[in-house]
Every structure is written in structure tokens, then in C-alpha cells.
Amino acid sequence: MDRHMNDDTLKRLLGPGEPEVLCDECFERLDEYVELELQGEPADERVPGLRAHLQGCPACREDYESLRAFVQGS
């Protein structure tokens, strides 16, 4: 049986091509990152490696999207 691939699958398979933090550090700094983003501050510079992790980890990405949406709407 074959598996059909597209760019998204390829990204899931190979992950981000740059240094990333892992899940524990991502969770630790997620609140800071979200607030920096919402304040228009350079979040990626201040919390390096977190953006790459969010590209590679769907679970942390969902947590990030929820926190951002909830804080923005509060």
C-alpha cells in the first residue's frame, strides 16, 4: 500500500529546519511569548526557538493558539 504525501506531511515528517526549544520550555515561556506577540513586540527575538517548535509540535501549537485566542478575547 502507498502513502500519498504533500508538503504538509513532509513538514510533519522532517520538522522545522532550525533550532527549536522542546515542549517543557515551550510551555514555560508560552505566556510570555503570547503577550509579547499581542503587544506587537518581537516575540521571536525575545523567545528564540519557540516559533520553530510551534511549527514542529501540533500539541504545543494548539495550546498556543488557544492561549492567544483566549487572552485576546478576555
Binding site: 500519498h4 508538503d7 513532509l10 522532517l14 515542549c23 505566556d31 503577550e35
Partner: protein, 212 residues
């Protein structure tokens, strides 16, 4: 004082007030815990509402209960980690992430509760999707073939199982960590190491992966 500075001062004062109230013994602490629990429950319910479409088969009462469990566990986590709060964000933003994490994990696990997670150590041939012209298709298929081969030759059996389950079969990280009796962090580290090996092997074989 600019609007941004004033907002920052408000956030600091608000966070200090939360910390003082939660650290003070007696009735004030109890009231603060109750208020915080209310906020965390609101965050957990928000998460439930975001994912409701994927859980249409689950009764509303069960989802309400799930949100309450998430808020209960989140408040225990927040109170246990108060000394870890560094003031890098508003106290409430810091606390919300615990409720959203607890709710998200529960909801992903609930969505997969009746589904079997089959761990496949072998990778079937990967074929590129059509629609990129004959030459593009040939190059893509060459890459797919190299990926299949590299997964097979360079990864451990555990790395292969984890990579296939997470990246190809779409099993959520929390669901797999639960089934394998490990943590999200440990499992992601396995995925991370497998991806690095895979990228290194593909680079050795001459594939340019900078754009991926």
C-alpha cells in the same frame, strides 16, 4: 506615562495582588482561590467550545464535566507552582495556560478514546501527490523514496513507530504519550531526534531541504 506603560503598571499591580492574596493564609486566600478557579473554568470551557465540532458524538454534560476536571487540576498545578511564576506575563495569562493545557489534553484523549492506535514499525512506500508536472513529480518521488529508505535504515524501531504514528498517521502527541505511558516532552524528544537523523541522512544523500 504612555498608554503602554500605564497598561504595564496595571498588569504588574494586578499580578502582585493575585500573588499576595494566594499566599496569604485564611479567608482572603480562599476567596482568591475561588475567583481563580472561576477564571480557569472559563478558560477550560473556552477550549471545549473551540473543539466541540471534533467531539460532536460526546454529550454536553460529559464535556462540562471534563472542563471542570481540567479547571480543578489546573488550580492544583498553579498553586503548586506559584514560586515558578517569574512575572514575564500577567499572572492570569500564566495561569490560563495550565487550564488550556489540561482541557486540551483531556479533549484530544477523549476524541481518540474509542480509536485504536496501531504502532507500525515499517513505512509503506511514500508517493508524492500529483499536480506538479512530470519533472516535479519525479523529483518528489525520488525524495519520498529516499525518506522511506532513510527511515528504514537510520532510525531505531521506537523512533520509527513514533515518527510514523505522529507524522504520518496523525495520532495526537498526548494520545500516544498516554498509550506508551510516557510524557509529551519525552515523546517529542524522540520525534525531534528522529527528524534530525532523517534530515542529516537526506543531506548526506544530496537532498537540499532548506525550504522545508
Amino acid at each position: 506615562m504612555s498608554a503602554a506603560e500605564s497598561e504595564h503598571q496595571d498588569a504588574l499591580a494586578d499580578s502582585d495582588a493575585w500573588l499576595r492574596a494566594l499566599r496569604q493564609p485564611g479567608a482572603e486566600r480562599d476567596r482568591a482561590i475561588a475567583r481563580l478557579h472561576e477564571l480557569l473554568l472559563r478558560a477550560a470551557r473556552f477550549e471545549v467550545s473551540r473543539r466541540r465540532a471534533a467531539l460532536s458524538h460526546v454529550r454536553g454534560e460529559e464535556l462540562d464535566d471534563l472542563a471542570l476536571q481540567a479547571a480543578d487540576d489546573a488550580i492544583v498545578a498553579v498553586l503548586g507552582k506559584l514560586d515558578d511564576y517569574r512575572g514575564a506575563s500577567r499572572f492570569t495569562t500564566w495561569a490560563y495556560k495550565f487550564a488550556l493545557l489540561e482541557a486540551g489534553v483531556r479533549l484530544r484523549r477523549r476524541a481518540w478514546q474509542e480509536r485504536e492506535v496501531v504502532l507500525e514499525p515499517e513505512v509503506w512506500p511514500l508517493v508524492a501527490d500529483a499536480g506538479q508536472g512530470p519533472q516535479g513529480q519525479a523529483e518528489a518521488n525520488e525524495l519520498m523514496s529516499a525518506i522511506t529508505d532513510s527511515i528504514d535504515c537510520c532510525l531505531t524501531e521506537h523512533q520509527r513507530e513514533v515518527l510514523v504514528a505522529l507524522a504520518l498517521n496523525g495520532v495526537p502527541l498526548d494520545v500516544l504519550s498516554d498509550r506508551l505511558n510516557t510524557t509529551r516532552g519525552a515523546l517529542y524528544k524522540t520525534l525531534h531526534d528522529a527528524r534530525r537523523k532523517l534530515r542529516a541522512e537526506l543531506a548526506t544523500r544530496g537532498f537540499a531541504l532548506d525550504s522545508i
